[in-house]
Symmetry: C2
Subunit: 119 residues, 2 copies
């Protein structure tokens, strides 16, 4: 129930990486690595924010936000991230999809207790 679940992004345009995944069963080191990747992403140049939800059936969507395509490429090339992705491919995800998109506009609920996209 934390407002921190929302990504605090600047005014568009910026980029979004939409990662949809279906988890396999069992943790198998997943939660620790997922937490580490969230922290590591936040240290990368051009990182703007991340938000994530996963339903009880194991289907999840994580959206990370970046200031440029170059920032996405940099994160993709990160060595620790590469290793995590390989384990994801072979162990943690039964299936996944990645979409890279350019955010054109953003808006939110008026009066919500957070930085607004219009700010």
């Amino acid at each position: 129930m934390s407002a921190d679940a929302f990504a605090k992004t600047p005014k568009p345009p910026y980029y979004a990486v939409i990662f949809s995944s279906q988890r396999t069963t069992g943790d198998d080191g997943y939660e620790a690595t997922a937490g580490r990747m969230v922290a590591l992403a936040a240290e990368q140049p051009g990182y703007l924010g991340i938000q994530s939800a996963r339903s009880a059936d194991g289907f999840g969507i994580t959206v990370s936000y970046w200031d440029s395509e170059a920032a996405i490429a940099g994160w993709r090339a990160n060595a620790e991230h590469r290793i995590a992705r390989e384990t994801g491919r072979t162990h943690w995800y039964r299936d996944f999809e990645i979409r890279v998109a350019r955010v054109e506009r953003a808006y939110g609920k008026p009066g919500a207790a957070r930085d607004d996209a219009d700010a």
Copy 2:
């Protein structure tokens, strides 16, 4: 655990509406309307797909895909959708954010049992 959770989108470019929300507590008609909106969206011109996840803490991400900005505008103008949005604003969501983005590229797990983005 259904592969149907993944949206079956065509090759990019196309558009994504990323809807992030924090639910209030209690159903209050939410589940029925949410199901109706998913069915109604699928009937709209230019609809490509939808995927959704919500964590146990009530934070959710729904991404709907559309073939054009005009299709997004059409869905936004739908009368039944407008009424649902208003109830969402006043009752179902403590907070929400909407981002409209142009999907530039997409890829998935090789060998996954679904239509691949490269198909």
